[in-house]
Amino acid sequence: MSMSPTFLAFHTASRALAASQANIDVTGNNIANVNTKGYTRQRVDQNSISSGGYTQKYGLPMASPGWGVEVSGISQSRDPFLDARFRDQASEKGKLDTILSGLSDLESIFDEASTDGLLNELSNFINDLQTLSQTPSAGDIAFITRTAAQKVTQIMNVYSNQVTQVRNQQIFDLSRVVIENEFNTKVKGIADLNDQIRKEQTYGNTPNELLDKRNLLIDELSELAKIKVTSLPEKITEDLTIERLTVSLYDTATGASISLVDRGLYNTLYVTDNGDRVNVGIASSFGSAASGDITAHFSGGSIRGYLDLINGKGINEFRGALYYRDSMDIFASNFAKVLNDLNTVDPLNPKPLFTASGGGAITAENIRISDEWLADATYITTSTYGSDGGDNILRMIAAIDTDTSFYKDAADPSSTVMFKGSFHDYLSGLIGEVALDAELYQNYTDTSANVLNGLYAARESISGVSLNEEGISLMAYQKSYNAAMRYFTVLDEAVDALINRMGIAGR
């Protein structure tokens, strides 16, 4: 019959104390980080230790108590599936937020709900034409009419310039802020952290704080683009396998992926502005994709939102800044064409009221009053009969007020008809489009925010710190610590009795 060593139990008690201590420490760390962004709740991984009798050939015919507890590590409480869903939704919301803010900018250019704009000015122009038709030969009224026409052209200029400004702002944000400052910094940060984490893990450490930092960066990156995060096992030694984390751009439409981060390697993005088309390219230092244009590859995130706003021409794609610029150009060129034609009595001797500053095709940006009209307010043809009547003014009023075909190319009546209706209809239709889009994206954004908040809450319930839970743990571990100390006392007393008092009777 064998006996366990006398002082073995002291070690068991010591480990018990250590385990409780570790639990108290981790609980304390959790409580300390209750408000730390990105912090993941930690827990002590512990298991009991057997006396090791299982491997002996012949089992000992005696009860063998365990040797206590072992603290094997401190790990994080995370749900990778929730992480993936959260990031998907974050990239959706990133896209929607960007689009919504861009649409609000565009809406405020055209909207006349609280202010007067082109619609109002067009009505004023018609009314000044009406006044001119009362006394068509009056030079002072002709002057006022021309001023009203000038206001119409100036507002068109302003609209066009503002749309261009909004677009340029978006290009600046995309290129300087989002891609250079945020995206590229974040992928580099993730790659750096990959390196550090790998080193720590190779030494057998668990770099929870680094993991938190990396997770936070990945969360933030997912707001910028739709990404896919994969974790592959990497075997370091026979006994040690660590995770190899890769991040790639994921195109939901095609299912294709482009590598962004793999271990310490990373690829950065850059923006090229080709006028009407802004492209995003990748400088590929590793992975399957070659360097070059990957504009079509973004299926989510604010980058996609920016690209939609910047490049969207509205035909079979998003109605972005270009759509509104083109729409105003079509309005301006057709408006000028209709009135220029009416002002011209003899086709061989055109009398344009409106021209393009600098010549060429008329656009909303360059439309202005013709030099001839500027020089002489009565250049406007009031009558086609050579009298002082106002029949031609009525013709102009009717032309502005009745249905017109808006040609894609105003000078070419065989080009596509983009819209049929009055000039007012065209404009209020345009305002309606941008307002409806803004309304729609507001709804999308609200929904997406709700889903994201739900996912956030679900994730928090797993990874977040709950003070109640930690408080209860603290009390429990305090008790277990006390119990372990009590165990020590018991052992101490037992050994004391064994050494000092056993076998001394009758001495």
């Binding site: 038709s133 009056a138 009298s387 009547g389 309606g432 408080g471």
Partner: protein
Amino acid sequence: MTTQYTRSLNELSVELNRLNTQVASGRKFAKSSENTSAAIKAFQIRKDMLKTEGYQANVAHAKASLTDAEAALSHIEELMRTASERILFALNGTQSGEERKVVTTELRNIRDQLFQTLNSSTSGSYHFGGTNTTTRPFEIVGGKLQYNGFSLDLPLPADTPAANEALFADLEKDSMILDIGLNTKFDSVTGKVDESTVFGYSIAGINIVGRGTVTIGGEEFSNNLYDLLGALASELESGSYSYDKADALFGHFKTATGSIGKSITVIGAKTSYLEFMAERMADRVFNMQERQVSVEGIDPAAAIIQFESQKFAYTAALQMGSKIIQPSIFDFMS
């Protein structure tokens, strides 16, 4: 928990702000995207209101012009009545040649006044020139009255009577026109204004004075008020005065003055039509204002109640803020 709280506080204050703007501005929406369909309706109403304002201004202008023209026409009518009385006085067989000469002077005087009144204008625009408002419509050329540069005798030249007739028909119809919301239309071929879709508000002078010629005793006379008065004056002072000839001329003169009354009647009809249109437009504006309020405006009572209840909710949420950091187990540990 705090994230949630911050979000709901934010939502509440956004809504509070929106309601505040509503109450302050009296408008349902500040941006179209808040209520796109109402905004588009509102734009339509605003456009229609401005359009009607344009029509109202046109109606007012037409009415003022017609009133001016009517005053001038009444004066002409008065002049012609005086002329008739004087002619009747002169035609009386008991009058001596001296007395006829006095009437002659009076008639020439009246004729000059007629000429001036026919060329009367308001703010630089002639009343009776049709679409010619900048040059004097009536001129005396070779002792005869001309209208807008055309001789009033017909046929001239003799070989193109049909063309002349068409020309005079055009001159008679020639009128300043305005758009008063009758949906202006144009001939698809000639591009001419469809007269039934606009409002013609000036009287062409040719309708007042008459035109053509008459033959009395083998002699041809211009059949218009001015020339007839002249011919009568000449006959009355003539040494070879003939009662029959003078009486025949007077007959034509009486017939010609009938057109003045006709023109005044036309003006009366036009004015009452304008009054009818003005009333209708005032009604339309009123209706549109009501619609505008219902589309764009808020019900102040409802908005203020909503605002107050939102304010209450917001205040309640703020008060709750002090309790948002909920007690935890730590508060009960000893």
